[in-house]
Every structure is written in C-alpha cells, then in structure tokens.
C-alpha cells in the first residue's frame, strides 16, 4: 500500500485522464534535469536539420557534385561559417546533409536490429535453460565477442562500399546487443509472479511474451534505442572515415574528418567541425536517452 495508489482525484477515473496524467508525470520526471531538456532540444534540432536540409543549408548544392577551386580552403568567415574544404565546398552545408545520412542509417539499423534482437532475446530468455536458449545465446556470443565496430568494419570491408552495405554491416553487429539485454531482462522477469499467474490461467506464450514480459523491458529498450542513435552515428562515421559507406561526393561526417586530418594543422577547420558535429549528435542523443531513462524509471518507494 504505497502512497502512490492513493490518488483519488477524478482526473484518473477515465482512461484519457490517466494517459494525460502519466504523460504529464513522465514529462515532469524528464524535465527535472535541464540536461535532458537540452538533449531534447539538440535532438529536435538535428532532426529538423536533417529533414529540411535542402531548405536550411546555406549552400545546398555543395552537398553534391560541386567544385570551386577558387574558394577552396577558406577559413571560417561570415559567408562560410565553418569554412570550405579542399575543393571549395561549404562545410556547414555538407554537415547538415551528412546529418541526413547519419539519421537515416540510425533509423534503418535500429528498425531492423531492435525487433530482431528483442525477439531473439525474449525467446531465449523465456525459454532459458533449454536448448532454445543455449543455441540462441551461443550464436549471439559469437557476434558479441567482437566489438561492434570491428565486426562492422570487417563486414563492410568485404562488401562493396555503399551506404546500404555499411548499414547492413552495422545492423549485423548491432542486433546481438539487444538480444543480450532482452535476454537478461526476460529471464529474470519470467520468474515474477505475474508471469506465472498468466501461465497458470492459460495465456498463450505469445501473449505472455508480448503482454507480460515485453512491457517490462520497454523502459530499458527505449533508453537504449535513444542512446544508440548516437552510437550508430559514431560507428557510421568510423566506417566512412575509412572509406566504407557513403561514397564521395556525398557528404558523410567520417569522410570529412578523414579529409581534414590530412590537412592538419593548417586547415584545422576541415577536420574539427565535422568532429564537433559528431560530438553534437552523440551528446544530444545521450542527454536525451538519459532523460528517457529518468522519465521511465519507477520511483523508489
């Protein structure tokens, strides 16, 4: 009998009121930390830039085939806030377009690896101790024993370097982590009384997996997903740093840094700004993800 159960205000009597209340409370928990709100602002900015890139970037045509040797290697100025690169392209615009690809990769990678990983993890966790568990987890182990970045690199290296292939590579390296997380959550949740109760009342396995166990994993899942957008972007940048992934002249954060490194320290802005941009993305999604974790976590008694 905690005090939480005592709220008897009439707003909770109807389902809409309850939803609104829990949304308000989630927002309260989220916004208690100004950093989380900052994260949200950053995330929204990045998404906005990515979606409206052609309209927002000062020189949208620089993101494609564009060459202007006269304007090359310009340091930051009012015309080019982040300077130009070795063939005269505006760095700021290219970064904005690079956000597009980064977000696209993150969405695709997560859209595939989260369901795949979660399903396998749930199954293995629920059937833990049986052959299903052993088989699934051993296979996962093979993938997990290698850090995702290395696995992604290896796979991307043997395929042709395109955006699609690097997305495939990252996805393959990513899903086992969701398996592992869901597995450990599911195998402890399955021993909870409410799961046993559901089993006893004859609920089907599918029902139990999706209505009893999965919702209790959801806060960890959402947190990890939010954080992962940043990390996938990072791995994607690592891939393009090496030349895998989006090929020039299409802009990618990693490629830009690679080009810039050659020009250090004289034209420092070519490497620095894309590096800062990646930091910006990772920072934003990290703050946001932390906020989500705080917002979804249950309160202490």
């Amino acid at each position: 009998m905690t005090t939480e159960g005592m709220l008897t205000s009439s707003s909770l009597k109807n389902p809409w009121g309850r939803t609104l209340y829990s949304l308000k409370r989630t927002w309260y928990k989220f916004s208690r930390n100004w950093l989380s709100v900052l994260g949200l602002v950053i995330v929204v900015t990045i998404v906005f830039l990515a979606v409206f890139a052609p309209y927002v970037a000062p020189y949208p045509q620089h993101a494609g085939k564009f060459v202007d040797f006269k304007g090359k290697n310009q340091p930051p100025s009012w015309q080019h806030l982040m300077g130009t690169d070795t063939i005269g392209r505006d760095i700021l615009s290219r970064i904005i377009f690079a956000f597009r690809n980064a977000l696209l990769m993150a969405i695709v990678v997560l859209a595939v690896s989260v369901p795949l990983g979660t399903l396998t993890g749930l199954t293995a966790g629920y059937y833990s101790g049986t052959w299903t568990d052993t088989v699934i987890m051993r296979v996962t182990d093979v993938f997990i024993s290698i850090p995702p970045i290395i696995l992604a690199l290896s796979i991307a290296a043997v395929l042709k370097p395109t955006l699609m292939n690097s997305m495939i590579a990252v996805t393959v390296s990513w899903w086992p982590w969701y398996t592992r997380m869901t597995y450990s959550l599911a195998s402890s949740i399955k021993n909870e009384y409410y799961v046993q109760a559901a089993e006893l009342t004859g609920a089907s396995k599918i029902y139990i997996l999706f209505h009893e166990i999965l919702p209790n994993c959801s806060s960890s899942l959402f947190t990890k997903m939010a954080l992962d957008v940043g990390w996938v972007t990072l791995v994607g940048a690592a891939l393009s740093f090496v030349g895998l992934g989006e090929q020039p002249p299409k802009p990618a954060l990693g490629t830009m840094i690679a080009e810039g490194v050659e020009r250090m320290p004289a034209q420092w802005w070519i490497a620095l700004f894309p590096a800062l941009a990646i930091m910006f993305v990772v920072l934003g999604f990290n703050l946001f993800g932390d906020g989500i974790r705080d917002a979804l976590s249950p309160e202490e008694a």
């Binding site: 051993r138 296979v139 182990d141 093979v142 024993s145 290698i146 850090p147 995702p148 970045i149 290395i150 690199l153 290896s154 796979i155 290296a157 043997v158 940043g230 990072l234 940048a237 690592a238 740093f241 090496v242 030349g243 895998l244 840094i257 690679a258 810039g260 490194v261 250090m264 320290p265 420092w268 490497a271 620095l272 590096a275 800062l276 990646i278 930091m279 990772v282 920072l283 990290n286």
Partner: protein, 342 residues
C-alpha cells in the same frame, strides 16, 4: 561450482566461439566476389600462373575442404598465407604491427582502469557536492566525444598550439627501435635497459592513449558512481554503519567491492572495443599499428590478411572475455557458486 571448473567451462565455450568466428570470417572471405588469386596477381598475369596460385590457395577444392585445409595450416604452422598488399607472410605483418597496437591499448587500459575507478569513487564519496558535479560534467563530455574527435582536439592543442608532444609515429624520426623481444617498444626498451628509448616510446603513446581512453574512462567513472550510489541505500550498508563500522571502511570495502562488478564488465568491453577505435586514432597520429594495417588490408580486399587480422583480434577478445569473467567471478561469489548472478 568452484573457480577451477568455472574457468574450464569458460575456456571450452570460448574455443567453441573461436571456431564459430573462424567459420564466419572464412565464409565471408571466400564469399567475396572476385577471384582472390586473380586479384593478387593483377589483371595481366597469365592464366596458368593464376591457376597455380589458385591451387596453392586451395581455391579449387570444395568449400568445406578449403576450410579444413586452411584451419590445418593455421593451427600447425601459424601459416595464414601471404598478404597481397605487402607480399609478405601475413604472420610477419602481424608480428610487426600487433605489438604496437597492443602497447597502445595496454596503456589505454591502464588509464581507463585507474582513472575511471578513482574518479567514480571520488564522485560517489563527494556525491552532490561541487566535486561530484565537476567530475560528472567532465565524464559526460568524455563519453559523448568519440576517441578520434579527442585525437584531433588533443593533437591540435598539444602538438601544434603547445609543442609538448610529438604527433607522428612510435619513435622520433631516425631513432632506432630497441632490440625486438616482444615487439612492444616500451617493454623492449626497458628490457634493453634503454631508458631514453623507453621515454621516447612512451611520449609517442601518451596522446593517442588518452584520446582512446577518455570515453571509456568516463563511462567507467559514471558507472562506478551510479553503482555505488545504488548500493549505498542497501540494507547491508545501513547494517554495517549501524554497527559502528567507520564510514571509510564501509565505503572503501563493503560498498566498493559489490559496486565494481558492473563497471569492470563494461570496462572490459570497452577495452576490447578500443582495438576497433584504435585505427582511427592510429591514422590521425600516423601510428603504425595493427588497426591501421587492418583497415588497409580490408580496403584492398587482401583476403588472407583480413582473415589473419580478424582471427588475431578474435583470440584477443576471447581472452579478454575470459579474464573478465574470472575477475567478476572472483568479485562476486554468487556467479562462482551458482553460475549466474542472483
């Protein structure tokens, strides 16, 4: 089960994983479109020369047999074939480049462990004071900045703005490396008794190691702190305090030990991942290590070398996993005795 059988079990599983990995990478390597032999010799080599090389590489045999033969070669001779790029045995390439990266990751690991745990403990001890806030801010920045970004920033600051550190290579130009024993310049120079070489090697390692260490170190600090904060309110801590055990003993011993379990696991993962991020830092600092070599061979589809690099790394990671499992089992008797945590 006790510690002994536990280790054996982990070893057995690891060998299985190693097999799985070798199959995986072998398949990927062989599935690569294009004829490796042709690629090695170039488009103008005569057909019979190519054919001979194909036979040498067992490319004409069925896939399963190829795998078996390849495995035999690796296990008995350590023969991984020749690198198409460097035209040397892959084994030799690896022997040259691997210790460099090992040194780098080693120093990085030392930074991560020492700084990560210390910062986490300090942060927890002074929780919610300005010390804590500063450490948390710093560690947050550390986490979100990828290693190569730190590499760029550190290089700009410490090599070009303030000329404190070198920005290229393992040793200063023209300096002869120490006599090779392990291949790691730091260790070898100490073994050689050459302190000057040791210092030179270290100086070249510091910036890349810091760049690589900052994100995982920050993560470890955060985890240690939150782990300690979580355990702070547990009954067993309240109990110890209520019985009069001094705060410093409670914090330093009874709070720290159970709180280290999850940071150590994550640190191990991060150290393993460092091998991957090392390539970017190696590239920025012109450091000739395995990671850089690995990237080059991957880009050039140097099949043998790719396989070799991946296998070496695979062994390293699996070893790391085992070591961590052992440490965690030592720390948490529940795992040792039950085979799982509570």
């Amino acid at each position: 089960m006790r510690l002994g059988p536990f280790i054996l079990r982990r070893l057995a599983i690891s060998i299985f994983v190693l097999f799985g990995l070798s199959i995986l990478i072998f398949l990927i390597a062989r599935v690569v479109p294009g004829d490796p032999a042709r690629m090695a010799l170039g488009p103008r080599a005569p057909v019979d020369v190519v054919e001979r090389l194909r036979q040498q590489m067992y490319l004409d045999k069925p896939l399963l047999q190829q795998y078996g033969l390849w495995l035999r070669d690796v296990v008995t001779h350590g023969n991984l074939g020749d690198s198409l790029l460097t035209r040397r045995p892959v084994k030799q390439d690896i022997r040259e480049f691997f210790p460099a990266t090992l040194e780098l990751v080693g120093l990085t690991a030392i930074f991560i462990i020492i700084a990560g745990i210390s910062l986490g403990v300090i942060s927890a001890r002074y929780a919610n004071t300005w010390v804590d806030k500063v450490v948390r801010l710093f560690s947050y920045l550390g986490i979100v900045t990828p290693a190569f970004a730190w590499a760029v920033i550190l290089m700009l600051l410490f090599c070009f703005v303030w000329h404190l550190f070198p920005s290229y290579g393992r040793l200063t130009e023209g300096v002869m490396p120490p006599v090779t024993i392990t291949g790691m310049y730091t260790v070898d120079s100490l073994l050689n008794g050459r302190l000057d070489l040791f210092w030179d090697a270290v100086v070249h390692l510091i910036l890349p190691a810091i760049a690589l260490a900052l994100p995982p170190m920050s993560q470890a600090a955060r985890l240690t702190r939150s782990s300690m904060a979580d355990n702070q309110n547990k009954d067993y801590i309240a109990s110890m305090i209520a019985y009069g055990v001094p705060n410093r003993v409670v914090t330093g011993k009874y709070l720290l030990k159970p709180s280290l379990i999850s940071p150590i696991t994550v640190m191990a993962l991060d150290i393993a991942a460092t091998f991957g991020y090392a390539f970017m830092v190696e590239k920025v600092f012109g450091f000739p290590g395995l990671a850089r070599y690995g990237i080059q061979v991957m880009l050039n589809k140097d099949v043998n070398a790719i396989v070799g690099v991946v296998m070496v790394l695979g062994v390293v990671f699996i070893t790391l996993n085992i070591v961590v499992d052992i440490i965690v089992a030592y720390l948490d008797p529940r795992i040792r005795l039950l085979g799982r945590s509570v």
